[in-house]
Amino acid sequence: MTLRFNAFDPSKARRAARLSTLSVLAFAGLLGTGLVLEACSADGGDTTSGKRVVLHTRVDLEPSAASSFTTATGWKVTLTKAALATGPFYYFDGPPPLVRRDEQRGFQYALRFLGIAVAHAHPGHYQAGNAMGEMLEPYSIDLLAGTADFPDGDGITGTFRSARFSFGTPPTGPAAGAVGGHAALTEGKAEKDGESTRYFRASAELADIAKSAAEGHVEGCEFHEVNVGADGLVTVLVNPSVWFNLVDFTLVEPGSEAAPTEFAAGTQPQIAFAQGLAQLSAYKFTYSAQ
């Protein structure tokens, strides 16, 4: 008996269903592993389930973006505000989907020349694996105001490899006023030789980010691989340069410092900014024992 499986069906419905499966599988892994963490925590033992640990949480600005940064299109951006309304963070033992591309051609040479790291990811199934830790409290931060200690989270001992960064509205916490009811709010200026300086204000709602990242959950962020064996500190480094990498500032009116130009809804700058907020390379997690 020979069975053939030439299940080709060119209809969009068939292909669309398969694409949806990608997201469902990733989502399934996250939900399922959340349950694993709960079961392990209740157990409290130190077998394969691990021991419970306290994970303090700190969020900070990526140092390379502290003063200014250069986008992929060559604009030097200096921010005066970068406020975020965040939701829970989760940590997993599955590897992140990011890969580094070996070849450097054309435009990427230019990026290297500008000092911009070129990391690429590949699509596919991000399999979060087991949930190893979490910080569940909604909070907020203005990254330009300095390091912020977020509420403590908890977890279990074991290997941490990836994380979920999430946005959450309405904002709560110390920077709730600064973020102004949005999921993210930034202000600053962009400069480029031969161009007028652009003073801008860019904001995004949770719905804008959710077009790229379900419910504002940025899945598969890098958690610098570590074997967590004790209580410690999880630090989240946020890199705003990723948010602006593909913004075309030539489409933004110059504005002024006192009256910056808002990125209008539906325009290239606002879409690029919202997509940038959903980039998993904008959020890097590390752990240090305490």
Binding site: M1, T2, L3, R4, F5, N6, A7, F8, D9, P10, S11, K12, A13, R15, A16, R18, L19, T21, L22, S23, V24, L25, F27, A28, G29, L31, G32, T33, L35, A72, T73, P97, V99, R101, E103, R105, G106, F107, Q108, L111, V118, A119, H120, A121, H122, P123, H125, Q127, K211, S212, A214, V218, V242, L246, Q268, I271, Q275, A278, Q279, L280
Partner: protein, 291 residues
Amino acid sequence: MFRPLILGVVFGPGAVACGSDDPTGSGGSGTVQFTTWGEEYIEDEIPADPGDYSGFVDGWSVTYDKFLVNIQGITVADASGKVGAAMQGSKLFDNTVPGVKSVIDFPGLEAKAWTHVSYQIAPVTAATELTASATQADKDLMLQGGYSLYVDATATKDAVTKHFAWGFAIGTEYKQCHSEQDGRDEEGLVVTNNSSLEAQLTTHGDHLYYDRLQSSPDPAIQTSLRFDALAAADANDDGEVTLQELDAKPLDVVHYDPSGLGAATHGAFVTSLARTVGHFRGEGECTIASL
């Protein structure tokens, strides 16, 4: 409504890992025939969208002249990791040549569930075996470029044509392949006694033109096939769209979304999509990892 599928996916592997016996074991053995096929999209044409999203929504059509793919490392293992069969070496195929092509047969496989099926699309080496569909010139081209995948095609819209020949020097592993069989998701494949089962490593030629790297969580946002931005990347307007030109063109974020995966240019975007052409038994999926 996702919950039944979610629970099935999450807890299914866990149950196997706990050491339960394979309930599908039936005794005896069978043969698995691994094949590859490029579907009509690669053999014939990817059409302009007739209105049901089955083609290019911006009016282009694409016809392939070459779709070279180098397959290696097919492995069939059970849930414990025990390998039942493995392919040595690699084989080069041109999936524009019509028909389903044999990659390798694995006779005498124990009749049971082989849940861990994987394969690779990897750069050609000097030892790569030529199949009837590919030529020595094809192999030489792949070897010189270090390519695992090479496409040579023409895109047409009204009176405009754009030719492109893109070689991808990347290696991709497709692991934990699964597919829908009889209405349910099947991990790997199930061998039954005295049977001969075809497991097709299907290549999807339309993936290179998707406008997202992953499907949108918003069901109102469709993933579509597009070529306008790729055609516009032909900076010198010589009718040839090169990967270098795509690398020089920042991603058109109004029409494309890297879905959080960070492709800054159309070259990076297409290269990311090139890792997704490998499938399993038609529409089946595998976990993708770079080599």
